[in-house]
């Protein structure tokens, strides 16, 4: 599938329709093709329009709808079935339908393409972004979508301190949120206090959808600025403040209420009908008659009539649904390695194929030694680069790959994945060879040469070289298996560890309080190094687990946490520079310097390249790419455009 934008200014939509009808006649498919050309919308919508219950297609589409160049022109109809869990699974809906931001990702996850905005301009300093919206675009209730909605969403909602205590980070740079001004009905300008070259990429991710999230003519009735009597509504709903009511009616990017109000106008391809609420057993969505995208022949999308999400409490029953062919496309909750054999075996019975989900992470099992440990002796040990180097060389990565990952990976540390333009050989591969001899020699050299009766090394203060590694077995069972092997490998070089399997909330609490010795987590930044650089420097207060206090220093601008070493400070500066640089080549050069420093510092220990996941897709579901990224920033399968999937 390629993406193609209709040239602006030249043809208008009616001309295009005429053009297609003409072309079809010339090719000689006269009757049938003409009939098809006449009805470029779903049959039920065509009927409603003919009966006068709905405006004509031409009046529902914008003057220049977004044209999706589909693989195969589809046919209308059918219901797409997916599964959800009963709790905290609202993003399963978001991923399929709710990623309609100003811009979007291409399929390869390398470039930002027009979406709601048909084009944009950026000033050389990357502080001003001017977006041109689509003239005549409508909300799902038929009212126009204009610059006013964007201004309302940001200025009145996202920046409202009663609604959001602090503005969402996607629209904030250097601690200040952007200012949005309306130029005319279809043009808006975002102004930032300092350069923010990454803004477009951020706008393509789910957390960057604020500009198109709130519908002014509907949402303003719950906003005190527009409705002075909002207090009565709050009281009638038995809530305590207007912000709660606003959220209950309009949702937010990733809260369940976003899918809980069928009245709320949206710009998504499907509109909620049976909402996702606490007691729901099934969520359904119906096509948006005003959806603003068409295929290259001018047929309005989406092709598929409706979506049904059955809610199961338990993943095993989701597996049964999959193998009995009751799910049309699903990767959520199924994509673990243990499920793959069962799902492969039953492909024929379930009538589905497997699709490959390219890992966007760099590292499958990143080991974070806490270099800011509260115990000074432990801190000293972990902060020693040669100690970490010895541990890395003590791991037999090939054995882990063969046993745990069925040979589907390669030894790796961290950094952009092979094939990425920013791939960094040293960062990715240093110290990945299995060399217990060198590791032992190194440990002897740095003062851990004495051993106890069991052959474990002793620290200079007489304590055993021992630490616990936190891991969440329910989330990542494979990491537990890997750690058990690592424990064996490290025993050979005299280092004792405990695989500390804990519950996930405890894992987070220990990290937040800086109580952990060490922890593991998949290491991100493989395809999206700019969006999640937590392993390249101390950037993420919950994720850069080798030095949480340093991240606090960075995030708070030096007010909280602990001051990091010089190399970290340089990287923080470099990253801020890279984020302000629009030119991709220049940005790459800055990031190369950052990666050089990361490689020299060698803070995290990796095991192997993140393994691709998989999903299932029914054989009769068409226009689904064979593989696509698996990421939150590229919220699969959304950017593969489910609106152009169809049933053959």
């Amino acid at each position: 599938m390629t993406d193609q934008m209709k040239p602006r200014g030249g043809l208008d939509r009616r001309d295009v329709l005429k053009g297609f009808a003409g072309a079809a006649a010339v090719v000689g498919l006269a009757g049938e093709a003409l009939a098809q050309a006449a009805a470029k919308e779903a049959p039920d919508l065509a009927k409603a329009a003919a009966d006068g219950k709905l405006p004509k297609l031409a009046d529902r589409l914008p003057a220049s709808p977004m044209v999706v160049n589909v693989d195969k022109v589809g046919k209308y109809g059918g219901a797409l079935r997916r599964g959800l869990r009963g709790s905290a699974d609202h993003n399963g809906i978001l991923r399929l339908v709710g990623n309609q931001g100003l811009v979007r990702w291409n399929l390869a996850f390398t470039e930002v393409l027009p979406n709601v905005a048909e084009k944009w301009e950026v000033n050389p300093e990357s502080t001003e972004f001017t977006f041109h919206l689509r003239k005549g675009m409508k909300w799902s209730d038929g009212k126009p979508f204009t610059a006013d909605d964007v201004v309302f969403s940001i200025e009145d909602c996202a920046k409202n301190t009663e609604l959001y205590k602090s503005a969402p980070s996607a629209i904030v740079i250097s601690g200040k949120p952007c200012t949005v001004t309306k130029i005319d009905d279809v043009t808006v300008k975002f102004t930032f206090a300092s350069p923010y070259a990454l803004f477009l990429e951020q706008m393509a991710t789910p957390l960057g959808q604020y500009p198109t999230l709130f519908c002014k003519h509907y949402a303003s009735q719950f906003h005190p600025k527009y409705n002075p009597n909002v207090g009565d509504l709050v009281k009638a709903a038995n809530l305590s403040n207007w912000a709660d009511l606003f959220r209950a009616k309009n949702g937010d990017i990733e809260i369940p209420q976003r899918w809980g109000n069928p009245e709320k106008p949206v710009i998504d391809p499907w509109v909620i009908k049976d909402p996702y609420t606490g007691g729901a057993t099934r969520v359904t969505m119906e096509r948006n008659p005003y959806f603003w995208q068409v295929d290259q022949q001018g047929n309005q999308l989406p092709y598929i009539d409706r979506l049904t999400f059955n809610i199961s409490q338990d993943v095993e029953s989701l597996m049964l649904d999959a193998i009995s062919g009751k799910l049309d496309i699903q990767e959520r909750h199924l994509d673990t390695l243990q499920n793959k054999p069962t799902l492969s075996q039953n492909m024929q019975k379930g009538g589905y194929r497997l699709i490959e989900l390219i890992a966007s992470s760099a590292q499958q099992v990143q080991i974070y030694l806490n270099m800011t440990h509260k115990d000074p002796k432990m801190r000293e040990m972990f902060a020693n680069k040669e100690f970490r180097q010895a541990l890395s060389m003590g791991i037999n990565r090939q054995e882990i790959i063969d046993i745990v990952y069925l040979g589907q990976s390669e030894p790796y540390q961290t950094g952009p994945r092979p094939g990425h333009p920013w791939y960094h050989e040293k960062l990715a591969r240093q110290f990945t060879g299995h060399d217990p001899k060198a590791a032992n020699a190194l440990l002897d050299k740095i003062g851990y040469s004495k051993k106890d009766a069991q052959g474990f090394r002793l620290r200079p203060d007489g304590q055993k070289v021992f630490f616990a590694i936190d891991v969440i077995p329910t989330l990542y069972p494979d990491e537990v298996d890997t750690l058990e092997l690592v424990k064996r490998h490290w025993a050979e070089i005299g280092v004792d560890v405990k695989v500390n399997t804990i519950e996930r909330a405890l894992y987070y609490t220990r990290g937040d309080n800086n109580d952990h010795d060490a922890a593991v987590w998949p290491g991100p930044g493989g395809l999206d190094p700019m969006l999640d650089p937590r392993d390249f420097f101390a950037q993420h207060p919950q994720g850069s687990r080798y030095a949480i206090p340093w991240t606090l220093w960075y995030v708070s601008g030096g007010k909280d946490g602990q001051e990091p070493p010089e190399s970290q400070k340089q990287r923080m500066k470099l990253f801020d520079d890279a984020r302000a640089t629009a030119d991709l080549k220049k940005r790459g050069e800055i990031m190369k310097q950052l990666f050089d420093l990361t490689a020299d510092a060698f803070e995290t220990i990796g095991v192997c390249l993140a393994v691709n996941a998989f999903g299932i897709c029914r054989n009769n579901l068409q226009n689904v790419p064979l593989k696509y990224p698996n990421s939150w920033s590229w919220p699969n399968p959304g950017p593969a455009l489910p609106q152009q999937f169809f049933f053959s």
Binding site: Q313, K349, L475, A505, D532, W632
Partner: protein, 328 residues
């Protein structure tokens, strides 16, 4: 009798307060809070919560306040306004969420109860009367088998067989077409059509243990002199069984009513999850796992209230059925 009931009712109030406090503490006891769990759950699908959001959520839900303050607020709202609060996750009133699921839960529990008693009581009596016959051994064998098989496993195996071998759906209580449909005669038929599977699965282990209990109780009674006396007086065997030993053997069942009521809510959770039943159990488990304080707290409070009421009812019933028991 009336005084007894009244004093029991009065004592319920302090018990409930203590229990509600304990449950509040217990739910808070695990590390982290709703927000940590929420972030961790999203992280499981590679999803990230905006860094500014986490702190905001905590203050919005009042999780940054001391526990005792949270408890006082919660209890205050219940006592003064009957308001159980909003579920953190769904932002819907807790009472709506619970009642929404109670009707089907009641249907399921009572059907299971009827099935269990209907099967277990006659068989238990039979195997006691025909002690050590082939029939008794057969029933004993089957009931031990039923006791030994965990019901969720039975559910999974049945589902697997139905799905893979017969291509039939087993999960849920309704067919596709009726899930969202309003109530009608056909929907009830559809419910009955689906209900028997969970009822059987749930009844299996209950039936097995009841058969054993009934058999043992009956054996205790059958050898007593009053049975011989009744038989000597020429009472028909059936009348004799039903009128005397069986009535006494029923005592333990009546005392189990105390657990029966709370089981309405918390029983059969695992089976309900496996079978995707829209009953209260899965919601309870979910709220505990996500540390959704108000929802979980309301559930625990409900279960405790039902336990207290249940034991009161069974005490009263016991006194009515068995004249040897005196209140006071």
């Amino acid at each position: 009798m009336l005084r007894f009931i009244l004093s029991r009712l009065v004592w319920m109030v302090p018990s409930l307060v203590v229990v509600s406090f304990l449950s509040f503490v217990l739910i808070q006891l695990p590390p982290g809070d709703y927000v940590t769990t929420y972030i961790a759950t999203l992280a499981a699908s590679n999803e990230v919560v905006d860094q500014n959001t986490a702190a905001e959520l905590r203050s919005r839900f009042g999780l940054d306040q001391p526990m005792i303050v949270q408890y006082a607020k919660w209890l205050g709202n219940i006592v003064t306004r009957g308001d159980f609060g909003l579920s953190f996750e769904w932002q819907q009133p807790v009472s709506d969420l619970i009642w929404e699921r109670m009707a089907l839960t009641l249907v399921l529990t009572f059907s299971t109860l009827l099935a269990t008693w209907g099967i277990a009581l006659p068989i238990g009596v039979f195997s006691a009367v025909k002690k050590y016959s082939i029939g008794d051994y057969l029933v004993t064998f089957l009931s031990f088998l039923g006791l030994a098989i965990p019901s969720f496993l039975l559910a999974l195996v049945l589902m697997y067989i139905a799905a893979v071998e017969f291509g039939q759906e087993v999960g849920g209580l309704f067919s596709e077409a009726y899930v969202q449909a309003p109530w009608s005669f056909y929907k009830v038929l559809d419910l009955l059509h689906h209900l028997w599977i969970p009822v059987i699965i749930l009844a299996v282990s209950g039936t097995a243990s009841l058969i054993r209990v009934m058999r043992a109780n009956m054996l205790d009674e059958l050898s007593k002199p009053y049975v011989t006396t009744a038989r000597a007086k020429g009472l028909s065997e059936f009348r004799l069984l039903v009128k005397y030993p069986m009535r006494l053997a029923l005592n333990p069942f009546i005392s189990t009513i105390a657990w029966l009521l709370p089981n309405l809510v918390s029983g059969s959770i695992i089976v309900a999850i496996v079978l995707s039943l829209p009953t209260a159990g899965p919601l309870l488990l979910q709220s505990l796992m996500s540390q959704d304080m108000y929802l979980a707290g309301a559930f625990v409070l409900l279960i405790c209230t039902l336990t207290l009421i249940g034991s009161l009812i069974s005490d009263i019933l016991l006194a009515l059925v068995d004249p040897r028991i005196r209140l006071e």
